[in-house]
């Protein structure tokens, strides 16, 4: 299970958390505004907190400081 509180604390060091939670049973999404770091920084954080539970990052975009990412897992 994603440690949401720890994840949010990490993310908040680089921007504002708009959404960070499960989107559906098979997907987890993160939406940040005013993201000041690069995508690699986000991926490093995601690798620690999200990837163990949602191993596939299907989308990562960073446009005008808005970062959006989706992570998926297979149905059981």
């Amino acid at each position: 299970m994603v440690d949401r509180q720890a994840l949010v604390e990490e993310l908040e060091q680089h921007g504002n958390v708009v959404f960070c939670d499960e989107n559906s049973e098979l997907s987890y999404i993160v939406v940040m505004s005013d993201w000041t770091a690069d995508e690699a920084t986000f991926e490093a954080i995601a690798n620690i907190y999200i990837i163990p539970d949602f191993p596939e990052m299907s989308v990562l975009t960073l446009v005008d400081g808005v970062l959006k990412a989706q992570f998926n897992k297979q149905r059981v």
Partner: protein, 194 residues
Amino acid sequence: MIINPYVYKNPVCVPTTGGSSLIANGTTNVFEAPAYGLYNYSWSSFIYTAGLIGAARQITGIQIEIAGYTTPYTFNNQTIKLAHLAPATTQFDTAPAINWSDMPVSDVTIVKEFNWIITANGIIDINFDTNFCYNGTSNLIIGWENRDGTWTSGYGWAETISSAGSGAIQYLDANYPTGNGIRISNRMNLRIKY
């Protein structure tokens, strides 16, 4: 300048009623189809070959298969387009044009403009406002334009089956996407209503 060499004869629309069997019963989740809830705007498009569609007929609607939505979930300002596609074209280009300008299409028809309120997952009925007269020989291309303008969590996915180059997607927050999309190798599970 792109010259469309595709010429076809006028179709004869058989006034039958019923529906096809489900075209594909895949279980691959494609979140970007038919509309992608993570972004304000999105586009998806899929090719179905003539052999899958069957004889000439009036297509009055479609059924698609969705899952994973927290209901109710609403996509506002949706547009579905259908068109004939030259029989020799069975895949999208590697950089598919969102406006189909790189595809030999004809009879492009807006069949449905609506606010899509999803109240349940599973097989979803979509009845057209304007029927599409399918000619029985061309491939069929479906386009789905999501111009909602907002994104909301709780979105799900379309069930699809693997099929090389038969799908295309794009998504954006700033505005409805233009230019090229991203080719994918999936197409939505679909049933033709007639």
